[in-house]
């Protein structure tokens, strides 16, 4: 089963994204801050991580960098989707420089999110 990890400190967002992705047939795990998210990623080895940027304790960029720098090659290659309101030019530059695979700007459309998630995952990962 394809596993997605969603990390956002806003429960309204995590609930919605989890709902949407579960509808697609994916397994979804949720965390509400960066550190817990990183730990969960290391433990659960998801196929994709949806990451908010502005979070307490450890922000999304730091999590992304930590993932990319992880000694485990598989984990370091995990696709990371940044879901954030920070989407000005300099933010995009920093995000991609930190290793993000894609960006979804808030306010977002769940249909767009689904398309990008599907595109970021290996073909055939999404049952729907």
């Amino acid at each position: 089963m394809t596993h997605v990890l969603v990390v956002d400190d806003d429960p309204i967002i995590t609930d919605l994204v989890a709902f949407r992705l579960t509808r697609l047939g994916l397994t979804v795990s949720r965390e509400s801050d960066g550190e817990a998210g990183l730990a969960a990623a290391r433990q659960l080895r998801p196929d994709l991580v949806v990451l908010d940027w502005m979070m307490p304790r450890m922000n999304g960029l730091e999590v992304c960098r930590a993932l990319r720098a992880d000694p485990d090659a598989d984990l370091a290659r995990t696709p990371v989707l940044l879901l954030t309101a920070k989407a000005q030019e300099p933010d995009l530059e920093r995000g991609f420089a930190a290793g993000a695979t894609d960006f979804v700007a808030k306010p977002f459309s769940t249909r767009e999110l689904v398309s990008r998630v599907t595109a970021a995952l290996p073909p055939g990962s999404v049952p729907a």
Partner: protein, 356 residues
């Protein structure tokens, strides 16, 4: 003199009694609040999945559970609405319309309580289409400042370009609108607002002119370039207008503006205006500006010197070469040059320094 003592005594007792009452009220209030919060948490958990299913519904007619859901349901929808756009947003807006939320809000626009008017305006901004533009425009003249701000924001969100003119007019008309909120609303309206902005640039009051310049710059509107250059050249332009025009020319990025900007850099009285010109020249990146920027390194204001150095760093090989030459010099110019080079060294991947 026993009377004052007796009075004081009674007064003390009265105060103690009032204190005890307050304590009792606190205790009761605390308990009630806890119970209410727990109840709400339960209800939210029940209703949230219902809200989520709305987003999948291609069906125009809402499910019966949705129409019958309590008022908390509307709150959940409204919580979610600002984070979404596209078809999700449309779906949620439809639900609110069907549940009569929008109609109630429209009526509340005329409420006597300011907070009700304000909340109604905010709600209509998030949730409604363009049917309420006229009513919201009327609120731009509301006696309460917070209500005016809420109405301004709402007009931006509804996306009705007919609001652009009233917004710009509202900047200077009494009782007046805060410049920043009008700016954000106009940005929300997007490119359809460009004609109104170009108008304000040439014919508007100074406040509107400065704001229009700033926004046209953010849009990168090439068509506005002549008017922006005219603003810079006009002696009667206010400092904020000049600063905004310079900033806009920088963002638009046409090298045709280099001449006017170098002129501003050399002759403007206020350091803030010179700084804006330097920043703009850096963004444009035209090597023609190198001479003026080099001279700017000797400016009296440290802020201007730093901006000139950063601009030179952003103008490719010519600018950077010049910086390296200057960096050996002693004095403030040399320090500024070295500082800019250090910044470059620290961020080698950036080909253009993005200034602030």
């Amino acid at each position: 003199m026993t009377v004052p003592i007796a009075v004081a005594g009674y007064a003390s007792l009265l105060l103690v009694a009032v204190t005890l009452l307050v304590l009792a009220a606190m205790g009761l209030g605390h308990r009630r609040r806890l119970r209410r919060e727990q109840h709400e948490v339960r209800r939210r958990a029940e209703l949230t999945p219902l809200v989520h299913t709305l987003l999948d519904d291609e069906d125009e007619r809402p499910a019966p559970e949705v129409t019958a859901a309590p008022a908390l349901f509307d709150e959940l929808v409204l919580d979610l609405l600002p984070s979404l756009r596209g078809s999700d947003r449309d779906a949620l807006q439809r639900v609110l319309a069907t549940r009569g939320v929008l109609d109630r809000a429209a009526r509340d626009l005329g409420s006597r309580a300011a907070w009700r008017r304000g909340r109604a305006a905010t709600l209509l901004g998030s949730a409604a289409g363009t049917e309420h533009t006229a009513a919201l425009v009327r609120l731009l003249a509301d006696p309460d400042a917070d209500v005016r701000s809420a109405a301004t924001r709402a007009l931006g969100k509804t996306g009705d370009v007919a609001a652009a003119e009233p917004l710009l007019a509202g900047l200077t008309a009494a009782p007046g609108l805060p410049r920043g909120i009008v700016g954000m609303a106009l940005l929300d309206l997007g490119t359809p607002a460009l004609p109104a902005l170009r108008d304000a640039l040439t014919t508007g009051a100074p406040t509107a002119q400065a704001l229009a310049a700033e926004l046209l710059g953010m849009h990168g509107d090439l068509a506005a370039t002549p008017a922006l250059l005219a603003t810079l050249a006009d002696r009667s332009s206010t400092a904020p207008s000049c600063i905004a025009a310079a900033g806009a020319l920088g963002r638009i990025g046409l090298p045709t503006a280099t001449g006017a900007l170098t002129g501003t850099l050399t002759t403007a009285q206020l350091p803030a205006v010179r700084r804006a010109a330097a920043d703009a020249l850096g963004r444009i990146g035209d090597p023609e500006a190198v001479v003026a920027l080099t001279a700017g390194l000797a400016d009296a204001s440290p802020d201007v010197r730093a901006a000139c150095a950063d601009a030179l760093a952003a103008i490719g090989d010519e600018g950077r070469g010049r910086l390296r030459v200057l960096s050996i010099a002693a004095g403030p110019a040399g320090t500024a040059a070295r500082a800019a080079l250090d910044v470059l060294a620290l961020a080698p991947r950036r080909t253009r320094e993005v200034l602030g």
